[in-house]
């Protein structure tokens, strides 16, 4: 993998840009490591789906968005959400079900949303974010906005009908939306390849009339370049685009899944392909010092430890919150008469 990284293009890396990306990837990694540890302590209440190993997709795609752009994610959405600018403390509180969580403790990991930073929600239903994203982009078009929408989903989602319906919709209405398939090879415990006819996500997108590209999803430089080009084209009014990022999750499907359905050797190989390590090598080749790189990691992981502690120290939300924001009319307390 070092060979790949040593490619010439990395020598004239925009160091400031990628130091920022590296910090972000460390932040995502640290967030999820803290969350996994906290789940072992019983603090994270519901299922979490770590994206450890996939950070280059979040950092390479979402960091290219303007704050007012919109983004939709999946059950495996911590990285995307952080990259879109959500507050990690509020997110950690949400995972812990505490007051001050991003959704006030109502959603948890699988339903994190932060509309304040244009993050329109993770989703517990595979593929359900695709039509919703098409709709958000539809509204942007109706409103004559210059903003765009990014919709990230997994390789498993391409076998659900809404994938076809949503991509077709985006093409028909020529909407400002980038669809990103974060292809980690697995749909829960199943190898997606075995359940997928044809060449896969990008070929399907092309058949629906979307220009599509595939990149090494563990190479943040490549993801960044591809996402930026697509986003620029979309913002220039060229309609929807598609991007597949090939990656791998280092953990199980959930934080408690031992993932015995895949050989240790495969996992090891991918561990050697860690997107963070790869970017560090590239930055070193571009002249960044070891000291700077490890300071950056230390800073992010230190900050995240403090955040996890702060989340632990936060109280529960009020029980009465269960009855707010249901709907404006009708009595949500109704249990029969």
């Amino acid at each position: 993998m070092q060979d790949v990284i040593a490619e010439g293009r990395h020598h004239n890396l925009d160091r400031d840009r990628f130091l920022g990306r590296l910090a972000l990837m460390h932040r995502i990694r640290a967030f999820e490591e803290e969350a996994i540890a906290a789940q072992k302590d019983g603090l994270v209440l519901g299922a979490i789906h770590p994206s450890i190993g996939q950070e280059a997709v979040a950092a390479g795609v979402c960091a290219n968005l303007e704050p007012a752009d919109l983004m939709l994610s999946t059950h495996r959405g911590h990285g995307h959400t952080l990259a879109k600018g959500a507050d990690p403390l509020a997110m950690m509180r949400e995972l812990f079900g505490r007051a001050g969580g991003t959704c006030g403790g109502k959603g948890g990991s699988m339903h994190i949303a932060d509309f304040g930073v244009g993050m329109l929600g993770a989703n517990g239903v595979v593929g359900a974010n695709i039509p919703i994203a098409a709709g958000a982009a539809h509204a942007q078009k109706l409103q004559g906005s210059r903003q765009i929408t990014v919709c990230i989903f997994g390789d498993g989602a391409v076998n659900r009908g809404p994938f076809l319906e949503g991509l077709n919709w985006a093409r028909v209405f020529d909407l400002p939306v980038l669809f990103v398939c974060e292809d980690n090879g697995f749909s829960a415990t199943t190898r997606t390849r075995e359940m997928t006819g044809g060449e896969g996500a990008a070929a399907r997108a092309e058949s629906l009339g979307l220009e599509a590209q595939e990149v090494d999803g563990n190479d943040v430089v490549a993801v960044d370049a591809a996402a930026r080009a697509a986003i620029d084209a979309i913002r220039a009014g060229q309609g929807p685009r598609f991007l597949t990022c090939h990656t791998y999750r280092m953990t199980g499907h959930t934080a408690v899944d031992p993932a015995t359905y895949r050989p240790a050797q495969e996992v090891d190989e991918w561990r050697g392909n860690c997107p963070i390590a790869r970017l560090e090598v590239a930055l070193r080749l571009a002249g960044e010092s070891d000291a700077r790189l490890s300071a950056l990691q230390a800073q992010e992981s230190g900050a995240m430890a403090a955040i996890a502690q702060a989340a632990r120290d936060t109280g529960w939300p009020e029980a009465t919150g269960a009855f707010t924001d249901v709907q404006d009319i009708g009595d949500p307390r109704e249990r029969a008469f």
Binding site: L70, L72, G101, T102, C103, G104, G105, K106, G107, H111, A113, D114, F115, G116, L120, G121, N123, G124, V125, A128, I130, P131, I132, A133, A134, G135, A136, A137, H138, A139, Q140, K141, L142, Q143, G161, P162, E165, G166, N168, W169, V172, F173, T324, D325, V326, Q327, D328, I329, G330, D331, P332, A336, F337
Partner: protein
């Protein structure tokens, strides 16, 4: 007052609200050619193809895109064509539209109206005739509306479009050509308020949608016999106007719920159970429900008719409730 059909009234509601609020738009199949029943006739010419949007046959995406567009500052009116086809978009309505505001901690709202024409309509058989309103009343986050008259279709659809939460709006296909008086000036009917359609002191009859008309026919027929039937058209099913219903039953001591949907687990069960729970000691007769048997709707008239609640069966039910109780 002008005379207008139920269909025209719905069309007028859309026009008025689209004129009033530029964030309102409609999406669905064939809307550019007026929609399958003509409810959108001429609207694309008036408002352009962006705001009266023709869509692919993609119910899941029609509903899902509306959710996304409603979350982000627009107010979509979703046309589902037949309520039966909305079954292709249940995840989008129930798991997404209805829950988003709550799940995301109130960060935003989902102001959308889902128009789903319901009901039996000349040999339309099992996949074009369903009435599933009770499903929607069971789902937290949804408002459920079922207008029965032209004036209500105007006034309720306008209120639904202005509502900030998702509304399932059930128009009855058989009522499209029904004519009725409608105010010339702006007409809004509040959500959640029933219409006391016929006064009477002996039996409270609660109904909605298409069955309002059968109930009124029977009420008039029985009035001539000296039996006083109070017909309450709920109009909004969630939240339903319990105050009006309870006040009436307190007076009459008798409740009959009449609806077109399958009786078993129909919304009549909720009303009957609520009244039985709250007003047991005021009841002069057991609560009663009339609805369809638990059968799919057949095509051939003799069998199709078995799924209908006839005027005769309504009248018979009322008479039965007035007989001296056979306490065993």
């Amino acid at each position: 007052m002008a005379v207008m059909t139920y269909l025209e009234a719905g069309r007028r509601a859309v026009i008025e609200e689209m004129q009033r609020d530029t964030s309102v738009w409609a999406l669905g199949e064939d809307l550019g050619r007026g929609g399958v029943f003509g409810q959108y006739k001429g609207l694309q010419e008036m408002f352009g193809a962006d705001r009266i949007a023709d869509t692919p046959i993609s119910e899941a995406c029609i509903m899902g895109a509306a959710v996304g567009a409603a979350m982000t500052g627009t107010r979509p009116i979703v046309e589902m064509r037949f309520s039966d086809f909305a079954l292709c978009a249940v995840d989008e309505l129930v798991n997404q539209a209805a829950k988003a505001r709550f799940m995301f901690g109130g960060q935003m709202r989902v102001p959308m109206v889902v128009r789903e024409p319901v009901g039996m309509w000349r040999s339309s058989a099992a996949q074009h005739s369903q009435s599933l309103e009770s499903w929607y009343t069971h789902i937290p986050g949804l408002v459920v509306v079922a207008p029965a008259t032209p004036a209500d279709n105007l006034g309720l659809l306008k209120s639904a479009i202005r509502n900030d939460d998702p509304v399932v709006y059930l128009e009855h296909k058989n009522l499209w050509p029904l004519e009725g008086e409608i105010p010339e000036q702006e007409h809004l009917v509040p959500l959640g308020k029933a219409d006391l359609a016929h006064a009477g002191g002996d039996v409270t009859m609660v109904t909605w949608s298409g069955m309002r008309h059968g109930c009124l026919r029977v009420a008039e027929q029985l009035a001539a016999e000296g039996i006083g039937v109070e017909v309450i058209d709920l109009r909004t099913l969630w939240p339903w106007d319990r105050d009006t219903v309870f006040a009436s039953v307190e007076r009459t001591g008798r409740l009959l719920v009449v609806h077109e949907a399958v009786a078993v687990s129909g919304f009549g069960a909720e009303i009957a159970a609520s009244v039985a729970e709250a007003l047991h000691h005021r009841l002069k007769a057991p609560v009663r429900r009339l609805g369809a048997p638990r059968i799919p709707i057949a095509y051939a008239p003799p069998m199709e008719d078995q799924a209908r609640v006839s005027d005769d069966s309504i009248a018979a039910a009322v008479r039965g409730m007035l007989e001296p109780a056979a306490v065993s």
